[in-house]
């Protein structure tokens, strides 16, 4: 009959109304500044820079390759490349950013900078209480403000950070193995060079490679 559904609906809302006074479990919201809900793991808002170890500048993973700056759709990243180099996490000398600014009033949290970064240097943060009284300067975060430790990253995105760390460790092992092999090869070469008289420098005559099918 006409109006039946209306009465059902009214009963439902009346139940909610009365129930909200007696049962805490019904409440869908918390009283925000006093109570907080921990953000879910995939929360993201603005990017930050990761550094390894304790010194933000020495451990910064960013090598100022400027891929993120070029890919950023709203163009809110500003990077200045250094002229000198510092060793990265595998010990290879790399550039570093002397200036790395992100204008979070422009940033749209698309995560493209994170996707394109080949060095796992930029990741998404979960900080959302970023209001400031200075809407231009206060929202332009510089390198020091953006730098966060790898421990912090592990804390906010544990699963993702574990993957990244495993990948980096693997790379490091590979790089070390390569370095070791190179070092061994160099050592062997040096040893061979030491053993053989330097006069005999004629390259060993290579047998003429037969053309396949000849």
């Amino acid at each position: 009959m006409l109006g039946e559904g209306m009465l059902k609906g009214l009963a439902e809302t009346a139940e909610n109304f009365a129930g909200s006074f007696v049962s805490k479990e019904r409440m869908t919201t918390v009283q925000y500044p006093e109570e907080r809900i921990a953000p879910i793991e995939n929360t993201r808002d603005f990017p930050f820079l990761i550094f390894d170890g304790t010194d933000p500048l020495a451990g910064l993973r960013c090598v100022a390759c400027q891929i993120c700056e070029k890919e950023c759709p709203p163009k809110c990243i500003y990077i200045t490349k250094s002229t000198d180099k510092k060793p990265d996490f595998v010990g290879k000398p790399q550039n570093y950013p002397t200036r790395f600014d992100i204008d979070i009033s422009v940033c749209m949290s698309c995560q493209i900078c994170v996707e394109v970064c080949p060095f796992e240097a930029i990741k998404m943060d979960t900080q959302f209480e970023l209001s400031t009284t200075d809407r231009f300067g206060g929202l332009l975060l510089d390198r020091d403000q953006l730098s966060r430790s790898n421990e912090y990253y592990n804390e906010i995105h544990p699963t993702e950070a574990a993957e990244v760390d495993a990948r980096l460790a693997e790379e490091k092992v590979k790089a070390e193995a390569k370095a070791k092999a190179a070092a061994e090869a160099a050592a062997a070469k040096a040893a061979a060079a030491a053993a053989a008289p330097p006069a005999v420098t004629a390259p060993p005559k290579e047998p003429i490679a037969k053309e396949p099918g000849a």
Binding site: M1, L2, G3, M6, G9, L10, E12, T13, A14, N16, F17, G19, S20, F21, R26, M27, T28, T29, Q31
Partner: protein, 397 residues
Amino acid sequence: MSFVAKLDQIFVLLQHWIAGFFPLWLQPLVMIVLGVIAIVAAFPGIFALTTVLERKGLGRIQNRLGPNRVGPLGILQPVADGIKSLTKEDIVPLSADAIVHFLAPLVLVVAVFLGFAVLPIGRNMVLVNLDAGLLFFFAIGASTELSIFMAGWSSRNKYSLLGAMRAVAQMISYEVPLLLSSVVVVMITGSLSTVKIVEAQSGFTGFLPHWYVFTPWGFAGFALFVVAALAETNRSPFDLPEGESELVAGYFTEYSGFKFALFFLGEYLGMFSIAGFAITLFLGGWGAPFSFLEFVPSWAWFFLKLLGAIAFFIWLRGTMPRLRQDQLMNFAWKFMLPMALLNLVVAGAWRFLGEGPLGGWVRWIICSLVLLTAYVLLGRVLMRNQNLGPRSYRYAD
């Protein structure tokens, strides 16, 4: 005069006492001015209270707390809102018709306030006892459409204009059942005066009152009146003219600051006045609901009933989804209008069956049966060919 009678008439006595300080020839004018001041102070006060109660009530319905920061339990929220709306910039669109844009909220508030002039708030408490009070109220109520269209047209905004068009279409459509459903009261009472209508309902049988809502035609009339009143005041589920999800804010999209607040005020005052008339016409006005509760002052009863009506409106708003335009019009013309017309016939039958030999309980049965059958049948017709289940898509699936 006994204490109870004095308490009942306290505002009337106060008015006479203050008027006593003025020369005799000035007294009628002073009395009217005092009455106007009382109305202009009391109803916006209730409006302020309603805004916070509505937000808290809707919050509770959605299992939230609602505003709870300003003052104890958030009860001072309207003060903060008032300060905010007073200090906000008043923006007038460059291409708007500035004069009409400025006048629209004023016309709305003035028209709505005029409606309170004939509303009996308590025993001997009515600003002017017009012989055609009901007619005056409906005439004034119809003029709010003008201000809404002024607002929508002068804003030069597609959303404003769409909202205003919808509002005017809706209000004109629902004015018909609104009027017809209240005509039954005039038929039975034999008067258009709101004071006489309340007096006609002031008797008791045993301890039960003679309210019109406790008769078959009265109940049907009351239900129709409430539905039409909801549509007339643009309240949910008839809030198409200002559907936030469709039209930003409808006809007052381009209003800001205090003009926006005036529209808000006008809308709520319109709701109060029409709820006040529903109370006057069908719920015994300022009369007590039981004979043993007559010691409570009449004005207290009126305001309690008004708060009850407001609570019901808030409850409905928290429950109903918005109607579609075609559903809205179908409901007005295919259900409300036939029911209201039939109710006129039933009220006439009630009036004359009471005098004949078949008086008493026979007319109860006949009138109830006719109305109930019509309700069920019309409801069936209305629901026919309506696919209310989950929607199926021909191409999108």
